[in-house]
């Protein structure tokens, strides 16, 4: 008993200590004094917590002394305050600041058309790529359905607001990639060499883009690859034109995962069924493969290693000017990229990239027999520093080396390709080193005004000049639904390698320059999204033929226009309409006048409608229209007695128009339950589809050809000029 008494005494002392706890009460309000309900008040040091009631009031039992309270509620900035707890203390009054709308929720950059309502989100998600009718499940073909792309005919290359494909930079996981197309000499590329199952999203901007993008004067396509996310999946697909297989697997769960894909395209069966507008000696073949490893080396850091290899070949009878011959072309590209990303102190994000690319192609036609070999190496480092939720600073540096070798035999006279035509050996090997730096400040100016202000400095080894590109964008968030944007900036990119030859070119050519001014309005809600944009792009230092230096950078030009985009969803129906008007002229190469360009399509219109007929069936329609593409007509002929051939007499450059382009594609997609065999998971899915390409059977013209004496003109049809029905499936488990 005597032993227990002291223990009881201690217990009483302890209980009395507990009883000395003081009740702390208070109210949590916003800055306007309105109570905040269901806010949490925590005292981590004591592992105590309480929540406010409907009137914003709370109460806590705290021991006397200093206590640190953390107060938080969604939509408000977290508050931390020190309180001296003492008997008789007055109720606390804690006011929380509104959490500002995060910068990432306000689109400041112009000309990035989103369909999700959050305009700075992915412009095209992988689902869009896979479900858009006529897109052939191709990232680049799907982009054609967005404004800002003025692509002539069926090609997949990104012709941006009057600029040819080489005026846009394409990035893959932060690294520039060249030649990401198959059949690149057909309209700049017919399909992309990326499996859509490896792609997470694609951000596309047709102007006014950020200072972090250099080396492009027209557009940016920034593709993010899918994170394997520790999932074990496999996808098999096949259609009348080819096969594909892809998969992801965790190698060390939570740490290391991998993904890979293989695709093979052999449209032989398709041509046998529907014929072809081209006379192929053998059906064109393309193949590509991608492998990607992701290593999460810390809770915030990860590194990825990616390898992409692709190739294609084509042999077709072709006619050009005064010769009909076999056109043979083959291409192979290998691209490897190493990337790391990490975050420090929750505020600083670092991205580092290192990439290497090898590209080789060869082509022959008539007297032409040439090869092009390219090696590109790039390293870059980007930092994003989030100073506050309303202020971000981005800076980075990039270094690139591009080594381009073009060698072979070309006709000495551009109007004579016939047998025995005089030729010229060409062997050029320009090496271009470029270094660049950028700094960009993304901030809330105050109230509903947001701005992105930046600049980049670049130096080209060939010309030895530094270029400085200031860029600015301003967004005025009128209300929750409406935003008005203004953007302006200067952009530079090196001239194409073929102009930089020391013998037949000018290695000192200045970089091309463009100045963008863009004004836009956006209205968005969860039901739809409307964007209107007017732009003007002025070119300087375009390449001109020069009698002394071969080429000089004193050309100029402009592109101006309007893009409109309306997207909506109503119950089971969704879709969008995009329209672009473009007026572009250039004073470049051998014409002293300001003329329309060969790739300036004045009007483009796209309508896409998707209807979910049932939980299993989706119907889709895609209509595309483009007003005619300018071309240079042959208006006469002259007899060359020395060579014994007819030579063409050309009309004014780009003075005629190819007839307007129309195409309607329809698609039925149906989901099936695969049979439960071979250990397929219950969640395995099979998507079957039937796609009608060019269902109206419109014979769109790709270009015009003449017979050898230039007395007859015939139209060469576009690649999808035949009505085709393509069936296929994709099985994922």
């Amino acid at each position: 008993m005597t032993r227990i008494l002291p223990l009881v005494g201690l217990l009483l002392v302890a209980l009395s200590a507990t009883a000395r706890a003081i009740e702390v009460t208070g109210t949590v309000t916003d800055r306007a004094g309105r109570p905040i309900e269901y806010a949490s008040i925590a005292v981590p040091a004591l592992k105590l917590g309480a929540a406010t009631d409907e009137s914003g009031r709370f109460r806590l039992q705290l021991p006397p002394g200093l206590a640190i309270l953390q107060v938080s509620q969604m939509g408000y900035e977290r508050a931390r305050l020190e309180v001296r707890v003492a008997p008789g203390m007055t109720p606390l009054r804690i006011a929380l600041n509104d959490q500002p709308i995060e910068l990432s929720e306000v689109t400041v950059s112009a000309s990035s058309f989103g369909k999700t309502g959050k305009a700075e989100g992915p412009v095209l998600s992988r689902r869009d790529v896979l479900m858009t009718p006529g897109g052939a499940a191709d990232v680049f073909q799907s982009l054609r359905a967005l404004p800002g792309i003025n692509a002539p005919a069926d090609g997949a290359a990104v012709y941006v607001r009057g600029g040819p494909p080489e005026e846009s930079v394409i990035r893959l996981d932060g690294c520039d990639i060249g030649h990401p197309y198959h059949y690149e000499r057909a309209s700049g590329g017919l399909f992309g060499s990326l499996d859509p199952y490896m792609v997470r999203s694609a951000f596309f901007s047709s102007g006014g883009f950020s200072a972090k993008y250099g080396g492009a004067v027209s557009g940016v396509l920034d593709i993010e690859m899918e994170d394997p996310r520790d999932l074990r999946t496999a996808t098999l697909g096949a259609n009348l034109a080819g096969f594909s297989a892809s998969g992801t697997a965790p190698l060390v769960r939570g740490r290391l995962s991998g993904s890979a894909s293989l695709r093979l395209s052999v449209p032989d069966l398709l041509f046998r069924l529907y014929g072809s507008s081209n006379d192929y000696e053998t059906a064109p073949v393309s193949r590509d493969g991608t492998a990607r490893m992701l290593w999460r080396y810390s809770p915030t850091g990860r590194a990825t290693l990616m390898w992409l290899a692709s190739g294609d070949q084509v042999r077709v009878r072709a006619r050009y000017l005064n010769v009909e011959d076999r056109y043979a072309d083959h291409m192979r590209t290998d691209f490897g990229a190493l990337r790391f990303e990490d975050a420090f102190a929750g505020r600083l994000a670092l991205h580092g990239q290192l990439s290497v690319q090898g590209y080789g192609s060869g082509w022959s036609f008539g007297p032409v027999d040439a090869t092009q070999l390219e090696r590109a190496l790039q390293g870059s480092l980007d930092a994003l520093w989030s100073l506050t939720p309303r202020h971000e600073l981005a800076l980075g540096t990039v270094w690139r080396r591009r080594d381009t070798g073009i060698r072979g035999t070309f006709p000495a006279d551009s109007t004579d390709f016939s047998p025995g035509a005089p030729t010229r050996r060409y062997d050029t090997h320009p090496v271009l080193d470029a270094a660049g730096f950028y700094l960009e400040d993304k901030l809330r100016l105050g109230g509903p005004f947001y701005a992105t202000l930046g600049a980049r400095l670049d130096r080209l080894s060939t010309s030895g000049v530094w270029t400085c590109d200031p860029r600015a964008a301003l967004a005025w968030r009128v209300d929750d639904h409406q935003t008005v944007r203004l953007a302006t900036g200067r952009y530079h990119q090196p001239a194409a390698a073929r102009f930089l030859d020391p013998l037949y070119g000018n290695p000192r050519l200045e970089p091309l320059e463009a100045r963008h001014v863009i004004a836009g309005y956006e209205w968005k809600s969860e039901y739809g999204n409307v964007r209107l944009e007017a732009y003007r792009k002025d070119y300087r230092h375009l390449v001109r033929v020069d009698p002394v230096t071969w080429y000089a950078g004193d050309g100029r030009g402009y592109a101006r226009g309007v893009d409109a985009f309306v997207q909506g969803t109503h119950r089971w129906l969704s879709g969008w309409v995009s329209y672009g008007w473009l007026d572009t002229r250039r004073h470049e190469l051998d014409d002293p006048r300001l003329l329309p360009t060969a790739y300036g399509v004045e009007h483009t219109l796209t309508l896409v409608a998707l209807y979910q007929a049932s939980s299993r069936t989706n119907l889709g329609a895609h209509y595309a229209h483009g007003s005619g593409q300018p071309y240079t007509p042959v208006v006469g002929r002259v007899w060359d007695g020395v060579r014994g051939i007819w030579r063409p007499v050309f009309g004014e450059n780009h003075s005629a128009l190819i007839p307007p382009y129309h195409r309607l594609d329809l698609r039925v997609t149906r989901l099936f339950t695969p049979p439960r065999v071979l250990g397929l998971r219950p969640s395995s899915r099979c998507v079957g589809y039937i796609e009608g390409l060019n269902v109206l059977g419109i014979r769109n013209v790709l270009e015009y050809e003449w017979n050898t004496d230039f007395t007859e003109r015939s139209a060469r049809e576009s690649y999808f000029a035949r009505r085709m029905l393509v069936a296929g499936f994709m099985l994922t488990w």
Binding site: P6, L7, L10, L11, V13, A14, L15, A17, T18, A21, E37, Y38, S40, I41, A42, V43, P44, L46, K47, L48, G49, A50, A51, T52, D53, E54, Q61, L62, P63, Q70, S72, M74, G75, T116, P122, S125, R126, R127, D128, L130, R200, R229, D230, L231, R232, T233, G254, P299, E526, S615, R616, L671, F672, T673, R681, P682, S683, S684, R685, C686
Partner: protein, 261 residues
């Protein structure tokens, strides 16, 4: 002897000097749990928000507790569908916050099967706000459920949530009422086998299982079975307002030809 006395007395002192409402205190967690269950039974947004806020405060006070993060996620899963009707933006934010709590819990305890399951359920809710992410979220949901079942095949709430997910999933993707019933029956068998011994351990879901079995039966046009299952759910939780006031009267009216279930 004195030393032995001190060893005996110290823990008593430490225990008694602690706050009476410590987050780790099973009483505080159990009290919050009762508040959440009562709110679920009422089926109204305000009490749910309040119950979630209570867990949120407990979790903020003790961020090292995986269990408290889990409970915030559970409360989020309960609250988001109702909040969505009132404020879609806030609901999406809350859903993301719930997922963040799941990640925090799993960082502390990767083997927490129930947390993998509630994460999958929240990812399923997230699809309502981000339908464009169906291709990746769909696979992630399957992966999370798979991991939950692998870690603890006897976790009934993982089967319950998987069953609800299956009921909302189209048949071609392995969903539909038949698939849902298979999963829910498995949950019901485990619930029927016994309750957890630990008062702080998750114990919710038995009434939900019977309720959703009833919904699945109704989807299969078996209204008699649905009524039986609703009644069984009421036996487990007589306070369940949604069943008592909405589902059962509507079903009975439909069975007597006066409406649709």
């Amino acid at each position: 002897m004195r030393i032995r006395f001190l060893f005996l007395a110290m823990p008593v002192l430490i225990l008694c000097c602690a706050s009476p409402v410590r987050a780790a205190d099973p009483g505080a967690v159990a009290s919050a749990r009762r508040a959440l269950q009562a709110a679920v039974s009422q089926g109204q947004l305000e009490p749910l928000m309040k119950a979630r806020a209570r867990y949120q405060a407990l979790s903020a006070a003790e961020p090292g507790s995986a269990l408290l993060h889990y409970w915030v996620a559970v409360a989020t899963w309960r609250t988001v569908p109702l909040l969505q009707e009132k404020d879609r933006t806030q609901a999406e934010r809350m859903c993301q916050d719930g997922l963040d709590h799941c990640e925090a819990a799993l960082k502390l305890d990767r083997g927490f099967a129930g947390c993998h399951a509630i994460k999958a359920a929240l990812q399923g809710l997230m699809l309502r706000f981000r339908p464009a992410e169906m291709m990746t979220l769909g696979l992630a949901i399957d992966e999370s459920f798979g991991r939950a079942h692998d870690l603890d095949p006897k976790e009934p709430r993982a089967w319950l949530l998987d069953g609800i997910n299956a009921l909302h999933k189209p048949e071609p993707f392995g969903g539909g009422p038949a698939a849902a019933l298979l999963l829910l029956r498995r949950a019901e068998e485990i619930f029927a086998a016994g309750a957890p011994a630990d008062s702080t351990a998750p114990d919710w879901g038995h009434d939900d299982t019977l309720l959703w079995m009833g919904r699945a039966a109704l989807a299969k046009k078996d209204s008699a079975a649905a009524e039986t299952l609703y009644q069984k759910a009421l036996e487990v939780n007589p306070e369940h307002a949604w069943i008592r006031q909405v589902l059962l009267p509507r079903l009975r009216a439909a069975r007597s030809g006066k409406g649709t279930p």
